[in-house]
Symmetry: C2
Subunit: 219 residues, 2 copies
């Protein structure tokens, strides 16, 4: 006998899949920065390889969202939960792309000695990961306070990025031999800054999901 | 007497608004690059200022999409048209953000003499604008062929970006005085490359809109 699952069960499954995707993306950020710090090229390659699975999961969740909207015609809060999933998976996928870009920059730097000890870049990555973690908890628990915290943390990421940017320019001017690697680090810093922006966009959707109000907080 | 507009009229209005937003974004790209070429800081500031109107229009279209889905419970092709609008306005908004980033980089370069004549960067911008124009025509006319053309053009943008990147690194190494401006140009090139990526994502949605099939073409 065929048992037709309830809408509620399908929605729960969608949420579980989205959280799984979020977890994979968080791991990608963590791994890409560990690869950079340890100059672990094997790990960097792993981040690049694992991106396909994240892309595939995005398409799977997206199809599920569209199908649920078409077939179940959900109302109000349920529709907001699904529309939010449909929107934030794009942010998640782009965050993963940037983790991938960071890993590719690691591969470019290779095993050559780092021009400076990395402190602020790993700190930015830690902050960005923390923001993403909070955003996912906010999605899981309909917690609007957590979503606001995500938006606030982005300021710190931005200010670290500006600091790293100025510092790397100085390194480049001091010695042309630093230019190539400093450029890679500059882009890594800008990827992390953008991960912070995507996570903020994502959090703005979470505020909508819970409250029904759309606000732009970081522009 | 209150006249309730038909769903069809509301959908047409949504499409018109989206095309208007697309037109504004296209103008932003064109203006930001003209500002760079002519070192026209007034025009650069205008691009930054006009970004607010694009952000506001995004939220307006988004609200309309969500409302139409909730209230009209559209099926099949109509739902795909609305879901596509809901997704691609984010790409449009981010393209506009990058035009804004380009304008900010112009302001940073200011009136100091350009370290090299700009050829490839305006060419990239022209290509990216052409891609966006095609994508918008594709949305307006449900033309899947145009959407495929958009995806193909992205390869040329990517290869120009790689060329610009290598060239600017050489300029930096030749003379440390070039570093600051070359870094700005490097980021401008990477913004254009990303505009190409966003437009490709957008075109992938257009293929879905017409055919009902989601494919990732540029990963």
């Amino acid at each position: 006998m065929e048992v037709r699952r309830s809408f509620h069960e399908e929605l729960q499954q969608l949420i579980a899949q989205l959280l799984m995707m979020g977890d994979m993306v968080e791991q990608s950020i963590a791994k890409s920065i560990r690869a950079l710090k340890e100059q672990n090229l094997e790990l960097a390659r792993q981040v690049v390889e694992e991106d396909d699975a994240i892309d595939a999961l995005e398409l799977e969740i997206e199809a599920k969202c569209l199908e649920l909207i078409a077939r179940q015609q959900p109302m109000a809060k349920d529709l907001r939960k699904i529309a939010t999933a449909l929107k934030i998976i794009t942010d998640l996928e782009r965050i993963a792309d940037h983790a991938c870009n960071i890993a590719e920059a690691c591969l470019k730097i290779g095993k050559e000695p780092l021009i400076k000890p990395l402190v602020d870049i790993p700190r930015m990555a830690e902050l960005a990961r923390g923001m993403l973690k909070k955003a996912l908890d906010s999605y899981a628990n309909n917690d609007v306070q957590l979503a606001y915290e995500v938006c606030r943390a982005d300021d710190e990421v931005d200010s670290l990025h500006n600091q790293v940017f100025r510092e790397l320019l100085t390194y480049m001017m001091q010695d042309p031999k630093n230019i190539q690697q400093a450029t890679s680090l500059l882009f890594i810093s800008s990827y992390l800054e953008r991960i912070g922006d995507y996570t903020t966009n994502l959090a703005e959707w979470l505020i909508y999901m819970v409250t029904g109000e759309r606000k732009k907080l970081n522009d």
